[in-house]
Amino acid sequence: MSTHAATHDDVHHDDVPKGFVHRWLFATNHKDIGTMYLVLALVMFFIGGAMAMVIRAELFEPGLQLVQPYFFNELTTLHGLIMIFGAIMPAFVGLANWQIPLMIGAPDMALPRMNNLSFWILPFAFLLLLSTLFLPGGAAAGGWVMYPPLVLQSGESLAFTIFAIHLMGISSIMGSINIIATILNLRAPGVDLLKMPLFVWTWLITAFLLIAVMPVLAGAVTMLLTDKYFGTNFFNAAGGGDVLLYEHIFWFFGHPEVYVMILPAFGVISEVIPTFARKPIFGYKPMVYATASIAFLSFIVWAHHMFTVGLPVGAQLFFMYATMLISVPTGVKVFNWVATMWKGSMTFETPMLFAVAFVILFTVGGFSGLMLGLVPADYQYHNSYFVVAHFHYVLVTGAAFGIMTGVYYWLPKWTGHMYSERWGKIHFWLSVISVNVLFFPMHFLGLAGMPRRIPDYNVAFADWNMVSSIGGFVFGATQLIFVGNIIYSVYFAKSRAPARVWEGARGLEWEVPSPAPHHTYSTPPEIRPGMLAHGDVAH
């Protein structure tokens, strides 16, 4: 793995391919592909967000104002699918593409051409998915979980939706294979596994999760396909099948999937907090083990999404205990972050602000997760807005804030310019206030008895819904600042960023200039003391 002939004189290394087609369509450069992933994710975030805005507008008051009930269900379904598969996951893959090679001293991803394929499948997959909006009978409207038999009632859209999911799956699997091969095979000499940055560690484990569960999702939706189009009876009790079979397979995928969306965020936060606390991460190894334990446990908790289906009591107990256990390694992470801040020397630039908000608000979502994990209580919470509140705290103020943290943190490295710190702070404060106005009242609504996935509701729910919608509009509009700031940093900013953008930043990515040259580390870097964020060469 270690010895390469030093052929640094290669003429090709620093020139960027000319022309749009060569640079982007034929891309093999991890930075370009990372950029494309991030741009796609941002576009998808806005498409999914626009759908959420329509949802919030319809829910602004009781009665039907904007959309018909069936279309509302289409919106909910597509919002979930697009945010998960289109916004959050590609954004993390984008961060991985940009950062992992930089952080481990690799010249590129291990399989660059496959990397290009993993990316380019995605826009087509979403084309396929969004095209269902225009089909006769509309898009799939069975929720992002696509439970049969309901989803089998959809019109022409089902086949399109399922093939879109197959494509996303293929893309994720290839992307993950690439990430694993890169991390295991391309580390510069001296970057041992237990000296890797935590972001790299979390992605290694995430990639493993993805390879393990995306094929299972593919299997589940394939069964839907054959049940609808080829007369099989997987999900039909009259033929000896079972609707719950689908739920089991889906959630065997689905639960690890939610950790796919949070582990890389944990990684980002574990990079950012030490930087701005100017103090090494507390408990590096426990962090790694905690991540691995979360990943392991995530395979044996899936039925906590199915507590109300009437499983045997023993099974419910097993899944309840396993679910509760996840709080322990997750708690270790939270405590380690706090301990990293402890006796540090903190400053609060935008990435740090987002990281702090992440720790607080993700934990709020984690607490409601713990509540949901207690079966008798979940009998009340299930399918109510309490669940919607839970998962938006972990997904929006968790995963999405994690991504924003990472983007602000590494943007100067990518563009070579600082973003606007002032607008970054405005973006942060508006976001963090409005997001709580948006999602916190959903706890109340759910507890009061408002089910999810409804376009209209009793007047008792009117007030909190209005509050939530107002928060939603503000939060949505605030994200325009985010985009503005990125555009500013890429095209307009004047101040040049130094190689080590942040005073307290440690790790290989800060050893290369900003912007990072098109090709970095065409020969493995020589690691000197103090260059690594964790551990040292000498050991």
Binding site: H4, A27, N185, L186
Partner: protein
């Protein structure tokens, strides 16, 4: 591609991935149209997508083969390829896992519940009274009508022997390759996909027999669903594996592989062993038990 051997190999831009993505998209798009009965667009698009994909495979793998023979790939690149293949096979294992899981769940839990065991007592009492379960079954409503199963000790047994021997032949070929013995390698290598095709042929006959004589169809309740989906996906993999083996055989004949460097050969051999092991699982859990 101006790098010298031994340097880290970063391939420069390639047009194949985007062609692959477009091909895949058109293929899936066509498939969806076809399933929804939109003809002739569906089949036409599907065929176009397939054509693009085939073109892409020749182009992409051709390029990789050429680069590999030029010695552009270092040991490190080789290891990346190996990891890639291994994790790909792992993902395939999980895909089959979903269907095996469906089989075990239906057979071990769901059908007994429908028949009133343990947790299913009330369901049986109120919804499916009189249903006694057992395996094979097409459920309380006997969907698809009375059917018979394929006896394991006929064609399936022969197929097991065929696949097992094909794993042996490919291993012999591999050893021959490592010994640098081309003349010994080629016949064993060619024998492997022939055995694979024989397997597929016999399976096709078995399916025809099931449909025409046993009344065992995709529609035969949960048994038919798990039987055909598991064996069907496996058969598909055997077919693909055979095609890959033919390509490898052709490349071996053209002298693409050296004693030391023959990753493509090994990857396909791994894949073939994987297909073989899945079959053993199928033979045991679908046919025998």
């Amino acid at each position: 591609m101006s790098q010298q051997a031994g340097a880290y190999y970063v391939p420069h831009g390639s047009r194949w991935p985007i062609i692959a993505a477009v091909g895949l998209f058109i293929f899936m798009w066509g498939a969806a149209h076809w399933l929804d009965g939109i003809e002739p667009e569906g089949p036409l698009l599907l065929a176009a997508g397939a054509a693009i994909l085939i073109f892409m495979f020749f182009g992409w793998f051709g390029e990789v083969a050429r680069e590999s023979m030029k010695g552009l790939y270092s040991d490190q690149v080789d290891l990346s390829f190996r990891m890639g293949m291994m994790w790909f096979i792992f993902s395939e294992v999980m895909f089959f896992g979903a269907f095996f899981g469906a089989l075990f769940y239906s057979r071990g839990l769901q059908v007994p519940w429908l028949a009133g065991e343990g947790h299913g007592a009330l369901t049986n009492l109120y919804l499916f009274r009189g249903y006694t379960g057992g395996w094979p079954t097409n459920g309380p409503d006997a969907i698809g009508g009375v059917f018979q199963t394929v006896p394991p000790w006929g064609e399936p047994l022969i197929n097991t022997l065929i696949l097992l021997s094909s794993s042996v032949t490919v291993t012999i070929a591999h050893h021959a390759l490592r010994d640098g013995n081309r003349r010994r390698m080629l016949p064993w290598l060619v024998a492997t996909p022939i055995l694979g095709m024989l397997f597929v042929f016999l399976q096709a006959r078995e399916y025809m027999d099931a449909y025409t004589h046993l009344n065992l169809t995709l529609h035969s309740g949960i048994y038919g669903a798990t039987f055909f989906m598991l064996t069907g996906f496996h058969g598909l993999h055997v077919t693909l594996g055979s095609i890959m083996l033919w390509v490898i055989a052709y490349r071996a004949w053209r002298g693409h592989f050296s004693k030391e460097h023959h990753f493509a050969f090994e990857a396909v051999a791994w894949y073939w062993h994987f297909v073989d092991i899945v079959w053993l699982g199928l033979f045991l859990f679908v046919y025998i038990i």
